[in-house]
């Protein structure tokens, strides 16, 4: 597992209070991990902080699964 994958999964599990084992690539924040709308906003904020970036709202809306978060970070950073 790449470093970015690990960091994203760690943040997701911390923010959403889910076991790291339950945080799979295909996991949907809302449907699988029980996030509400405020949780998803907080999650995006946490990703911004971790990866020192700003995720525009229209991009943030498209990040609904763990894989999409990993892809976003991979595509937009470094």
């Amino acid at each position: 597992m790449s470093d970015i994958e690990q960091r994203v999964k760690k943040i997701v599990s911390e923010q959403l209070g889910a076991n790291e084992a339950d945080v799979k690539h295909e996991s949907s924040f809302v449907d699988d991990l029980g996030a509400d709308s405020l949780d998803t906003v907080e999650l995006v904020m946490a990703l911004e902080e971790e990866f020192d970036c700003e995720i525009p709202d229209e991009e943030a809306e498209k990040i609904t699964t763990v894989q999409q978060a990993i892809d976003y970070v991979n595509a937009n950073l470094k």
Partner: protein, 244 residues
């Protein structure tokens, strides 16, 4: 009671804001009060320094200044856990004569600033799973008052803002409430002509203007653990002149 808490009170150089800042400071919070001028900020520092508090200059309409003040507070004391949106102005005139500038200035300083300040402190509050946002509105926002359409609109808007934000962030342990003072003895009401004051007092069952300490007491209550289950609410502190 508030040891370890960091409170930010806007418009704290005089009147209700000064009393709120002092009350929170006396009970152990680290209090930062803001004023629009450096001399106002210095006055706040003088009032609060015995309790470890501080005055800073801040124009609540300037987003860059808001950011810089919050950064200074975070570095010196830590993140703000109690925000009191108290800064406010009046530009009283009958609507027939009200200029766009009178309307815009009051909405910006009394309402838009509440949005800006609240948004700015929200992130650390959400992380901490704790926060108190206390908005000082006015009885006029509920009753209306001739000559104050701008002021009443801003203060009523504050109540709607308060209820919406309370619904958004309640699950994070953050409460958002309003306190609606009636006629309080401050510079703002001292400007009123004597005969107007006499007429006003006739409408107050408790037969006097309120003291700034009456409002400060309501704020310290909302900020305290005792008020943990109250959110989205407006507490009227007006001597009975308006009973909601």
């Amino acid at each position: 009671m508030y040891e370890g808490q960091v409170a930010l009170v806007t418009g704290a150089s005089r009147g209700i804001g000064a009393a709120i800042a002092l009350a929170l400071a006396k009970q152990g919070a680290k209090v930062v009060g803001t004023a629009t001028t450096e001399s106002g900020a210095a006055q706040i520092t003088t009032a609060l320094e015995a309790h470890g508090g501080l005055g800073l200059a801040l124009d609540v309409n300037d987003a860059a200044q808001v950011e810089s003040v919050l950064k200074q507070i975070a570095e010196k004391f830590g993140d703000v856990s109690i925000l009191v949106n108290n800064a406010g102005i009046t530009r009283d005139t009958l609507l027939m004569r009200m200029k766009d500038a009178d309307w815009d200035a009051v909405i910006a300083t009394n309402l838009t600033s509440v949005f800006r300040m609240s948004q700015a402190v929200l992130r650390p509050m959400m992380k901490a799973r704790f926060g108190r946002i206390i908005n000082i509105s006015s009885v006029v926002g509920h009753m209306g008052n001739p000559g104050q359409a701008n002021y009443a609109a801003a203060k009523a808007g504050m109540a709607g803002f308060t209820r919406s934000l309370a619904a958004e962030v309640g699950s994070r342990g953050i409460t958002v409430n309003c306190i609606a003072p009636g006629f309080i003895d401050t510079d703002m009401t001292r400007e009123l002509p004597e005969n107007v004051k006499e007429e006003l007092i006739k409408r107050v069952p408790l037969a006097r203007f309120g003291d700034v300490e009456d409002i400060a007491a309501a704020v310290t209550f909302f900020a305290s653990p005792s008020a943990a289950y109250i959110t989205g609410e407006t507490l009227h502190v007006n001597g009975g002149m308006y009973m909601a």
